[in-house]
């Protein structure tokens, strides 16, 4: 049976990138425990709008835990208290009447705040642009079954490829490192024969871009793995490190440093 509860929210409000920003307290009244966390915010927003106050901006789209749009730090944990769960799939039954909830945007220099809980994650796109692909023009592909891939490799590649690019890894990391995100794409493609030909260049360029964007380094805190909605393992970070060390030592040519943006 549905429970109803009253909550107090402490929400980061920031009008735009230049605004200072501040926490504002809101009452969330009569929240049904079947609501998702974002539905709870919808209710608060409708309420704010009725009072002529600007609603709280947050990114969201699929609300099914797959597009990677949503993301906010809920009581100190990116995506909130449920393991392997995005904020949009978090449900209010995990909270109780009277709870006070602090909601903050992802915090990282490479993720400037756009408004309220919305941040600019284009740095992650630029890491992929640096080399997170297989260069195969449409139409140039060989017959799909001409290259068998051991099931185990393919499964492992999938475990890495399942990343939704939400940025929770960066948000959770004490160093604001994007190592898990970058490693996941590098590993996905390095584990498959299709990714083979561009392997050395890919890892060098992607790591260079990751650094250029101003993310911190990896100190093996494992926070990223713990909050990752897709349970991506930090063993992929070890794999990225191995890939880079090998690539940098054996590649015949040099690559250039990269810049942000």
């Amino acid at each position: 049976m549905a429970r109803s509860m009253n909550l107090v929210l402490n929400v980061w409000r920031q009008k735009n990138a230049k605004d200072q920003g501040r926490f504002v307290r809101y009452d969330a009244k009569a929240i049904n425990d079947h609501m998702s966390f974002l539905e709870m915010l919808d209710v608060v927003n409708e309420d704010l709008a009725h009072k002529g106050e600007e609603p709280i901006a947050f990114d969201h789209d699929c609300r099914e835990g797959i597009c990677g749009s949503c993301g906010m730090v809920i009581n100190g944990v990116p995506h909130g208290p449920a393991k392997s769960t995005t904020a949009c799939q978090l449900h209010m039954r995990l909270f109780k009447d009277g709870d006070e909830i602090t909601i903050e945007p992802w915090r990282a220099g490479a993720f400037p705040v756009v408004r309220d809980l919305v941040v600019d994650r284009s740095a992650l796109d630029r890491i992929i642009q640096a080399g997170g692909y297989v260069s195969v023009r449409a139409g140039a592909a060989p017959e799909a079954n001409s290259l068998p891939v051991p099931k185990l490799d393919s499964d492992q590649a999938f475990d890495a490829a399942t990343c939704i690019g939400c940025g929770a890894c960066v948000a959770s990391c004490p160093n604001a490192s994007a190592a898990l995100f970058t490693a996941a794409k590098i590993s996905h493609l390095a584990l498959l024969p299709q990714g083979g030909p561009e392997r050395t260049d890919r890892v060098r360029k992607m790591v260079a871009q990751m650094d250029a964007e101003g993310f911190g380094h990896c100190s093996s805190h494992k926070e990223c793995e713990a909050v990752c909605p897709k349970d991506i393992s930090i063993s992929f970070i070890a794999k990225m490190n191995r890939e880079l060390i090998t690539a940098m030592s054996v590649a015949p040519n040099e690559i250039k440093s990269r810049s942000k943006g």
Binding site: N32, M35, C67, R93, V118, D120, S122, A161
Partner: protein
């Protein structure tokens, strides 16, 4: 205007080849001079933009999300069809073609469907080469499953995340082109209008969702891949941002809108839990392979713990009504029977707006028969997802399911080349109406989006560009300035109403109206009622809308208001189309037109056509244009599942 489908004639197997050979080419050295706009970065748009970039055109790609990787295509779970016949179970291009025309209830164009089936095999090659980790067997070769009741196993899949993996493949190719500077990506940018100069599409007007800046982007060709309009029903399985603005605004500029009433329902979605519900979540159809659908026989049992309801008091209505297919009847039948049960007051679960909308999908027998481990092996991830949302454990308590809007077959009318009725405006993916007729088969939308994006549009758009001179229209052109002015005026109008109701509440009310009267089952009276009601609600919208903040900033209410405004107009057209189509076909079910068994009854003599609606002016009735359909290869027949 006479609708010319430009579909080639001759043997169907050779049509696409012929068309490709006949299409004109642009000299590689000149391609850079042509500016191509692609709206949308889903499977269709992402693939198209990447491919145009590879060909060397000067591409601009737009999406409303913060990254092209987040397009709605990402949510597709089940899989993608391709006539590879890797299972040696008798599949072929022809069979996929046949199944798709038949599945579409004979309301699609044969030439297009054949091309789709033909290209399906290239798609799999392309995606595998990109590193898409499709399911594999221990041999290292690709695995397949049978999907949505197909007799052959032709569906390729990547766990329950096929759409995600395919989209990431396209996104990665797109990223490479962005790096190479052949594609300029414009995320968080919404197309609000189409620029038409002398009857030719020459660009779009956009609003930067962060700064609110309205700007014009001119081009030599515009390609819309902006997805479907399922959110006209408010609650659907679509992503929250899915909208009709790009297609509707183009419609108002002269692109015909085809078959808007062909909308698809998915039978197994998690029911609404309250009036705050923001969207519905689809649960894979595969659940019906082992789950048994039932409702209590006695109204007194509705609130009772289902575990305590004895076998004798359960109505396994699908097994009762369809002894040979049982729980595996097609999507539309399963959906309508569920609705009937709930309309009879036999629904289960929470009461929302006075009705319990849900039926049980019970795994109790499956657990007894196969054991809990075997059931977990097949469905555990789905069960977890269900439990996360509902807080109920499907191993213990039967799941509750209810149908929801899932896909829209209708869309902008396009010819064989995917060009709309506006010269220079091409439409791909779910945004067009082209390949699925009145009903889409499972795992065919991904196929269509990628076929359009990787293989069809690159040929047909090049052919078009080869016939035009690049450039000639820029931001200072009077028609461009006028269109920008109109967009600004529209935003101004919405901002200045300063009423009391939020855009969200209007959208919700419109959606409920559409679902009730233009949803799973439609009647003349209901549609007429909706057609009377929508304008009233729309009038209230323009009189009592409230948007807080300004237009020159990130404003989620303004975004929502613009999309809702366009949904109002599309809703009206959808109801009109549904009223006009006096037959039942695929996803369009008119209660007046059913067989004695309650099956959809087509009327091929009168309605074997594409209804292409023409915008004639503000508050004027739209004009119906018909593209007659002829079937040379697959002959219309009535289906039966009894």
């Amino acid at each position: 205007m006479q609708l010319d489908s430009r579909a080639p004639t001759g043997p169907i197997e050779q049509r696409w080849n012929e068309a490709r050979f006949k299409s004109k080419l642009v000299n590689p050295a000149n391609r850079r001079k042509y500016k191509v706009i692609v709206v949308g970065s889903g499977l269709a748009g992402g693939a198209a933009a990447a491919t145009f970039g590879e060909l060397g055109y000067n591409v601009s790609c737009f999406c409303y999300q913060d990254s092209p990787r987040r397009a709605h295509s990402i949510a597709a779970q089940g899989g993608i069809n391709a006539a590879k016949n890797y299972q040696n179970d008798g599949d072929s291009v022809y069979r996929l073609f046949y199944d798709t025309v038949k599945g579409g209830d004979f309301r699609a164009r044969e030439s297009n469907v054949y091309r789709l089936a033909e290209l399906s095999v290239n798609i799999i090659d392309q995606c595998v080469a990109q590193g898409v980790p499709f399911a594999r067997e221990y041999s290292g070769l690709l695995g397949n499953r049978s999907f949505g009741g197909a007799q052959v196993a032709r569906t390729f899949y990547a766990r329950g995340q096929t759409g995600q993996q395919l989209l990431l493949g396209a996104y990665q190719s797109l990223s490479k082109q962005i790096e190479q500077r052949t594609v300029k990506m414009h995320p968080r940018t919404e197309m609000l209008d189409l620029i038409v100069v002398d009857g030719v599409a020459r660009g779009i007007v956009t609003r930067d969702l962060v700064t609110g800046k309205v700007s014009a982007h001119t081009a030599d060709v515009v390609v819309l891949c902006s997805g479907g309009y399922g959110n006209v029903f408010y609650l659907s399985t679509n992503a929250k941002g899915c909208n009709t603005t790009a297609t509707w605004r183009s419609h108002r500029r002269g692109a015909y809108f085809a078959n808007p009433c062909f909308t698809q329902i998915h039978p197994t979605c998690i029911p609404q839990s309250g009036d705050y519900q923001s969207k519905l979540t689809l649960m894979s159809e595969s659940l019906r392979n082992d789950g048994r659908v039932w409702v209590p026989k006695n109204l007194a049992d509705l609130q009772r713990d289902p575990k305590n309801i004895p076998e004798a008091d359960r109505d396994y209505y699908l097994e009762r009504q369809y002894p040979s297919f049982g729980n595996l009847v097609p999507r539309d039948i399963a959906s309508r029977r569920a609705k009937e049960m709930c309309d009879l007051g036999k629904g289960v679960g929470p009461e929302v707006a006075g009705v319990r909308r849900g039926v049980y999908l019970d795994f109790g027998d499956a657990v007894k028969r196969l054991g809990r481990d075997a059931v977990a092996e097949r469905y555990d991830n789905l069960f977890q997802m269900y439990e996360r949302i509902t807080g109920e454990n499907p191993y213990e308590v039967p799941m509750r399911m209810y149908p929801a809007i899932h896909y829209t077959m209708g869309g902008l009318w396009v010819d064989y080349n995917l060009m709309s009725t506006i010269t220079g405006l091409f439409v791909g993916g779910e945004a067009n109406f082209s390949d699925h007729g009145a009903n889409r088969l499972g795992a065919s939308a991904l196929m269509q989006g990628l076929a359009d994006g990787y293989f069809v549009l690159p040929v047909t758009v090049s052919n078009y560009l080869a016939g035009v001179k690049p450039g000639g229209v820029d931001e200072s052109h009077p028609d461009v300035r006028r269109t920008v002015g109109e967009v600004e005026a529209r935003i101004q109008r919405l901002m200045s109403i300063r009423g009391k109701r939020t855009p969200e509440s209007f959208h919700r009310e419109l959606g409920t109206l559409m679902w009730d009267y233009c949803g799973m089952a439609r009647t003349e009276a209901g549609l007429k009622f909706a057609l009377a009601k929508i304008p009233e609600l729309k009038a209230e919208f323009y009189g009592n809308l409230s948007i807080v903040g300004s237009g020159e900033e990130y404003n989620i209410m303004l975004e929502k208001a613009g999309r809702t405004a366009d949904f109002f107009e599309l809703a009206e057209l959808t109801c009109r189309d549904a009223l006009d189509r006096e037959e039942s076909a695929g996803g369009h079910f008119r209660e007046e037109h059913q067989t004695e068994e309650g099956e959809a009854q087509r009327n091929d003599d009168a309605f074997s056509y594409v209804a292409a609606w023409e915008f004639t002016g503000e508050s004027l009735a739209p004009k119906l244009n018909k593209e007659p359909l002829s079937f040379e290869y697959v002959h219309p027949s009535q289906r039966s599942y009894k």
